[in-house]
């Protein structure tokens, strides 16, 4: 089942990334851009658990780091999305049954949207990229949270349904 999962993840990552930079970013919304890639990672992490979550997040982040409009140091998004996937997987798997209500999903998305924005700026500051100083971080975070929360009910359940159909078992370490 590993191959099927990997293929599903790869297709979703490519589609998510391309749609994000070529469609969502070009809409010219005020403030942030809806982070479709993060929603895709969250969807898979909430089905397959923290281990798969951080692996998928790392892969997605690395693609975002290397694909065309990116010009920052490779590894920044990989770091951030890896952590986001882990946290989302952890959150969904607390308790017996994976929680899958829409409210939980949106809550996870809201927390992670804020977290990833700050974390990305933080990692950049750590390696000497101070560009984040030139934008209002608060406004960016607010808009990112709003857009992602609005987009989440449409994207995350869909990703989760597909992921469950491919392999309902969380990828748990032995």
């Amino acid at each position: 089942m590993g191959a099927a999962r990997a293929l599903y993840a790869a297709v979703l990552i490519v589609v998510g990334l391309v749609v994000q930079v070529s469609v969502l970013a070009r809409l010219g919304l005020p403030g942030a851009v809806p982070d479709l890639l993060m929603l895709v990672v969250i969807g898979m992490a909430m089905t397959w658990g923290p281990t798969a979550g951080c692996v998928v997040g790392f892969a997605a982040g690395l693609c975002a780091d290397l694909a065309p409009p990116a010009d920052h140091a490779a590894g920044r998004y990989a770091f951030v999305l890896c952590l986001a996937g882990y946290v989302a997987g952890l959150f969904a798997q607390r308790g017996r049954q994976p929680r899958q209500s829409v409210v939980t999903t949106i809550l996870v998305v809201v927390v992670l949207a804020a977290l990833t924005t700050v974390l990305y700026a933080g990692v950049g500051a750590l390696v000497g990229d101070t560009a984040a100083r030139n934008v209002g971080l608060g406004r960016l975070m607010t808009t990112a949270v709003v857009y992602d929360a609005l987009l989440a009910p449409f994207v995350v359940p869909l990703v989760m349904t597909g992921a469950r159909r491919i392999d309902p078992q969380p990828l748990m370490p032995i």
């Binding site: 930079v21 065309p68 990116a70 952590l83």
Partner: protein, 338 residues
């Protein structure tokens, strides 16, 4: 909590790898070992981004057209369908017209400055959360685009090419905090360095602290020669505010760029800079009456040495071999057009 030791180990391992990548990439700079991976990524994602943006544009227009078409009365359905179709066509025409006008302006700037430009369209935009101001354009190595080429549009300076794929290229916009360009005040010829500041206006640091400048003064690029040449004479922006920094040797000046970076569409990559610096002849018309500071307008170029017939700035790939060592794009055999 079903978080086990192993999943935590995987997380820590991957986080360490990403941090190692960041370090390697930053230390490597331009020759970073990751540039191969970047080339691969742009070969894979570039065409996908191009295709998506080309596919999405008509759909967006169609949705707009249908939305504008109004209510649902059956008897008028046929009429409305036709109306929608016509509207859509009209919108396409309007969009095309806007694009033609933009291209026209671009060619005008190019011909005034005698640059040779390659037109291209923006197909992807870097997210604002990324804190870097970059776009992808639909022209790559196949179109003769190389790293460090200057990118302009009808209004002025857009940015600089940072990496090139087979079908796409990444452009660092002039507003990026990592973007600096040597610039010259139109008229007074004072030299300074203009730096992007993200969403805020650009910042100019003049080398001469005593230079007389005032709001409304205009800036063009200084240009540079050599392998990383920057096209000279490209309009950059207008001075909006001047601050004298106490104790500092240079003045800090805010510059409003001519280009609207939020609505970039058609741009031109300068594949061959002009032979001589056009100075400020490319600037948009001055608002106030000013005597032309530069009598040598390139429109009436002096009789240049022979065998340089190519002053047409067309973006076709038919570029001639130039003195600065760029290879000819095509066979040097004379083309036998009637």
């Amino acid at each position: 909590m079903r978080d086990s030791r192993r999943s935590r180990m995987v997380l820590v391992l991957l986080l360490a790898i990403s941090f190692a990548l960041i370090t390697v990439d930053i230390r490597g700079g331009r020759n970073s070992p990751l540039s191969t991976a970047r080339d691969w990524a742009s070969a894979v994602f570039g065409p996908a981004e191009r295709g998506t943006s080309a596919a999405v544009d008509p759909v967006g227009r169609a949705i707009d057209a249908v939305r504008d078409a109004g209510s649902h009365e059956d008897e008028k359905k046929k009429l409305k369908d036709e109306n929608a179709k016509l509207r859509q066509e009209l919108e396409n025409v309007q969009l095309d017209k806007a694009r033609v006008a933009e291209l026209d302006k671009l060619l005008h700037v190019a011909s005034a400055g005698q640059y040779k430009v390659k037109p291209a369209r923006v197909v992807a935009v870097g997210p604002a959360q990324g804190f870097s101001w970059t776009v992808t354009i639909d022209a790559g190595t196949g179109d003769g685009i190389k790293q460090d080429m200057t990118v302009i549009n009808g209004d002025g300076l857009v940015g600089r090419v940072t990496s090139v794929g087979p079908m796409t290229a990444t452009v660092l916009l002039a507003t990026d905090p990592g973007f600096s360009v040597g610039s010259r005040m139109a008229g007074s010829m004072e030299i300074g360095i203009t730096t992007g500041q993200g969403d805020r206006p650009m910042k100019l640091q003049l080398l001469n602290g005593q230079a007389q400048i005032k709001p409304g003064d205009r800036l063009v690029t200084f240009g540079s020669q050599g392998p990383k040449s920057f096209a000279p004479g490209v309009p950059v922006g207008e001075v909006t505010e001047i601050r004298a920094t106490p104790g500092a040797l240079t003045k800090t000046v805010e510059v409003k760029p001519y280009v609207h970076f939020t609505s970039l569409d058609t741009v031109g990559v300068v594949v061959e800079p002009p032979r001589s610096d056009p100075r400020d002849a490319v600037l948009p018309a001055a608002p106030a009456q000013q005597p032309p500071a530069n009598p040598a307008a390139p429109a009436s170029a002096p009789a240049s040495p022979a065998a340089q017939p190519s002053t047409t700035p067309t973006g076709t790939g038919n570029s001639k071999t130039s003195a600065n060592g760029r290879p000819p794009a095509k066979n040097p055999t004379p083309s036998g057009r009637d």
